[in-house]
């Protein structure tokens, strides 16, 4: 049976992990490669790097991080942040990324997603959507530029359109819930997942293991992404998987 995926996400800036990571057994908690190695050992199902480097000159650092990670861990790796051109995608894939996530550029030039999917295959094109409740019931608006810029787009409709353009997967972040450790926006997640035939990754708001369960069961997500609860060692990946397995959610829990 296909298992639900648990995906730790690392924010990387100028080649360093920025959201606090508190592993006791790490020589360098700011080194994304070293953190990736730990998650690999713990049996994470995928890894996600989000590059939040501001300056264009420093963007080659993420390439080095991806290259070093891909040489040491043999698991799927998604990289997002600042992907604007087909060359950006090619460079990341050649460095060892398996999937590339596109956010703001998809909104600015939707055709870019179609071109990218045709050129590199739908399996490696993830469209990241940052959504916020609009005030109307069951309606969410898409935001770009790290959640600062409203677009007027309806998140569910936008996700469907991106599926039609060849996205292989949707990474769906609730801007209302992100960073609050209150749980995913389950209504948003379910609304998108039920309307799409491609996998949906729930993101934004995890504080407990129950939140992961809710995202997968009530939110009907195919995968759950989390940062703080794993980085701060509130829970290990294995604890999360054991919790889900005990509640009959299919997870991969064999000796890594």
């Amino acid at each position: 049976m296909l298992t639900k995926r648990i995906i730790p996400c690392l924010d990387v800036k100028d080649g360093r992990v920025v959201k606090g990571v508190s592993f006791v057994n790490l020589r360098d908690a700011g080194d994304p490669v070293e953190v990736a190695t730990i998650y690999d050992r713990e049996g994470a199902d995928e890894l996600c790097f989000l590059d939040i480097t501001a300056s264009h000159e420093n963007r080659k650092t993420i390439i080095e991080v991806v290259e070093q990670t891909a040489a040491r861990v043999f698991m799927p790796l998604t990289v997002g942040g600042g992907v604007r051109t087909l060359d950006d995608i090619r460079t990341l894939l050649n460095a060892g990324a398996d999937k590339v996530s596109i956010n703001t550029t998809a909104v600015q030039q939707p055709e870019f997603v179609r071109e990218a999917a045709q050129r590199f295959g739908t399996q490696c094109i993830v469209v990241a959507i940052d959504a916020k409740q609009s005030g109307q019931a069951d309606r969410w608006e898409v935001f770009t530029h790290g959640g600062r810029k409203p677009t007027g787009l309806d998140a569910v409709e936008w996700a469907r359109r991106m599926e039609g353009y060849g996205a292989g997967e949707i990474l769906l972040t609730s801007m209302d819930q992100d960073g609050r450790q209150n749980g995913y926006d389950l209504a948003l997640t379910a609304a998108v997942s039920e309307r799409l035939s491609i996998p949906v990754i729930a993101s934004g708001g995890v504080g407990t293991l129950e939140h992961l369960y809710d995202g997968l069961v009530k939110g009907k997500a195919d995968a759950v992404l989390a940062a703080s609860i794993f980085h701060y060692r509130t829970y290990t990946i294995q604890q999360a998987k054991a919790y889900l397995r005990d509640r009959e959610v299919p997870v991969r829990l064999d000796p890594a």
Binding site: D45, F74, F120, G168, V200
Partner: protein
């Protein structure tokens, strides 16, 4: 030396790094001579079937692939590299494949809530233990990402089966050719064992 065939489709770095990680020397190449001289040949690939066949033709790799298969040296297809070995695919119209294994490549047609692509970790059930699967525990998890699956004419070539809405052949084995739908280079310890076994297969 293991030759990993590069025909401009996707990321081959992970495949070559996986061989290096388990102590096998591998080279990424599109040169017929290097493929002919190699002890083992790997045909990876992601993307669309038609584009991949077109690229194999463009780089004049079809004859070297057939020669490698006929020479009897161990040959490994991964993901699209599995599908390309078949007679034909129905991806975006009917495309002819390499015709090394009789059968068709078909699209998953599944009822909700099952999603396509089939993406993530799923179990493989070993039906015929091809040499690369030696020592792999029953029902081990491997990483998949694909929207099409293979349907071989002869069930005797099926090496592993996987269930996704329907049972499908997740690996095949015919003489010196083994090919898997999942990505061993992305399947952590299980995948590395498959890669190590393949490199040691003579």
């Amino acid at each position: 030396m293991i030759a990993i065939i590069d025909y401009g489709m996707g990321n081959l770095r992970s495949v070559s790094k996986a061989f290096e990680a388990v102590g096998h020397q591998a080279v990424v190449t599109r040169e017929a001579r290097v493929i002919a001289d190699a002890s083992h040949v790997v045909l990876p690939g992601v993307g669309a079937f038609g584009d991949c066949m077109a690229n194999l033709e463009r780089y004049e790799l079809i004859a070297p692939i057939h020669a490698a298969v006929q020479s009897g040296k161990p040959f490994l297809g991964i993901c699209l590299g599995l599908q390309l070995l078949f007679t034909e695919s129905e991806e975006f119209g009917v495309h002819k494949g390499l015709g090394i294994i009789p059968g068709r490549v078909k699209k998953f047609v599944l009822d909700p809530p099952l999603k396509v692509p089939h993406m993530g970790w799923n179990e493989i059930q070993i039906v015929h233990c091809a040499p690369p699967f030696a020592g792999i525990a029953p029902r081990s998890y491997c990483y998949f990402v694909h929207s099409y699956y293979v349907e071989p004419v002869e069930s005797s070539v099926v090496a592993t089966m996987t269930e996704y809405g329907r049972p499908f052949a997740s690996a095949v084995w015919k003489d010196n050719v083994v090919a898997c739908q999942f990505h061993p280079e992305k399947s952590q310890a299980v995948g590395l064992q498959v890669i190590k076994n393949f490199g040691a297969w003579t």
